[in-house]
């Protein structure tokens, strides 16, 4: 079980440049597999263009109380990158004028940002149609100062989206750390007890499923059915929807793939499962990702790979939605992760 981020371990994979080299060399350089731009060109989908902005995703920092094996952020307690109040103020200015219907706060554990609650208060005042917080669940149980988070979420009608790789303890703890399953179950019970996730309730609670290994997610609807059945039968827990998300071959998941000698097979399985229909709806075409320091990216994965947006506008302080429209999306071979099978996004499958 890992306890430190790649950054703390000074691994070469902590550097985005090295990750991008791996994703461009070997099987892609020698032509065994087509590079992503060529693949989407086959169906006249190159270059990918940004459509109308629907989701503003803000990463408020890489600090997290967990160190998950597959984390694409390389988050952990040792990460110090935290969004400042000044950058949050710039984000609030954008939230006031954006046409996006969804505000999506992520991290790390977003709740660990010292200004998290202030930011949620202020953003709520502006009025957001769908206000998501990606909460890892265990944060609620990690420290007394976080124990009132469910009530805080409820008071702001926050849409809670939480990770849960399996309905069994063994598989969950293996991916997310010892004890995570029990704490997650307790947190879900608390959220249920105040109305979150209950059928017909407006307090939305969705779960995110990431495969716990070098394989693609199965059918989202079937997995949702199995999760619902098991969590209800075993723990009397309810939730609304399950988003099945493919692990992208970057950061800690890339490190795992290479260390377990699964990298090439995994890339083959992504490319073989390539689905041009999923390309039409990839999240980078309707989402904008803001990093802890206010820089703009096409998605959270590009943020981690330090692939900046292809626009004159690079920072939240220069934000202009009209100029960002129709920009060319920055791509590399990791993008195969979003176009495999039924597709994958922070909102689940695409096709």
């Amino acid at each position: 079980m890992i306890t430190k981020s790649l950054h703390k371990r000074e691994s070469e994979l902590a550097y985005s440049k090295r990750q991008l080299e791996i994703l461009s060399n070997g099987i892609f350089k020698n032509g065994d597999l087509p590079i992503f731009s060529k693949k989407i060109a086959e169906t006249n989908q190159f270059p990918l263009k940004a459509k109308k902005l629907e989701i503003l995703q803000i990463n408020v920092g890489y600090m997290c109380n967990q160190v998950c094996e597959h984390c694409h952020v390389d988050a952990g307690p040792d990460r110090k990158e935290i969004m400042t109040k000044e950058t949050m103020l710039q984000c609030l200015e954008v939230i006031k004028k954006t046409g996006a219907h969804t505000l999506d706060l992520t991290g790390g554990a977003p709740e660990m940002n010292p200004n998290f609650r202030w930011f949620v208060d202020e953003a709520s005042k502006i009025g957001v149609k769908d206000f998501i917080v990606r909460s890892n669940l265990t944060i609620i149980k990690s420290n007394k100062k976080f124990s009132d988070l469910p009530a805080f979420f409820k008071s702001h009608n926050i849409h809670v989206v939480s990770s849960m790789p399996h309905w069994t303890r063994g598989k969950t703890d293996k991916q997310r750390g010892f004890g995570v399953f029990n704490q997650s179950i307790e947190a879900l019970k608390e959220l249920n007890s105040i109305g979150y996730g209950i059928p017909e309730s407006d307090l939305r609670l969705d779960l995110v499923y990431n495969p716990s290994g070098a394989f693609l997610p199965g059918n989202q609807a079937s997995l949702e059915k199995d999760f619902k059945k098991a969590l209800f039968e075993d723990f009397n827990i309810h939730f609304h929807h399950l988003f099945a998300i493919t692990n992208l071959p970057i950061s800690r998941f890339l490190d795992y793939l290479i260390a377990s000698d699964n990298y090439e097979d995994y890339m083959y399985s992504l490319v073989e499962a390539y689905n041009p229909t999923a390309v039409k709806n990839v999240m980078c075409t309707n989402t904008l990702s803001v990093s802890w320091d206010g820089n703009l990216y096409d998605c959270d994965f590009n943020q981690m790979l330090e692939l900046p947006i292809n626009s004159k506008i690079k920072h939240i302080s220069e934000y202009n939605e009209d100029l960002l429209f129709n920009r060319n999306i920055v791509i590399s071979q990791h993008c195969y992760g979003c176009t495999a099978g039924s597709g994958s996004s922070c909102q689940g499958t695409l096709a």
Partner: protein
Amino acid sequence: MQKTYYDPADLKKFGKISDWNEELGKKFFDYYSKVFEEGALTEREKSLIALAVAHTIQCPYCIDAYTGDGLQRGITKEEMMEALHVAAAIRGGASLVHGVQMMNKVNKLDM
């Protein structure tokens, strides 16, 4: 000619059997997909049956395919192993139940 009888890469070429007989190949794959659709049994249950049968007939391609399929469906390793023991019990039982035949023969011939 390849030097081993089995190559994992050949699994991906399964569909090519239709190249030499399109009509029967198509009928087979249509049937195959239909069989694995949810019916009286769930797709999950069918995947576990397939995994157990794969071990019974000792088909490396099928073991590869249905172990991966099971993982994708969230089937646990404990469930997979139990399914294999069902296959093993039936295989073992099939040998042992013939012991009755042996016993009948011995009882008939032996004084």
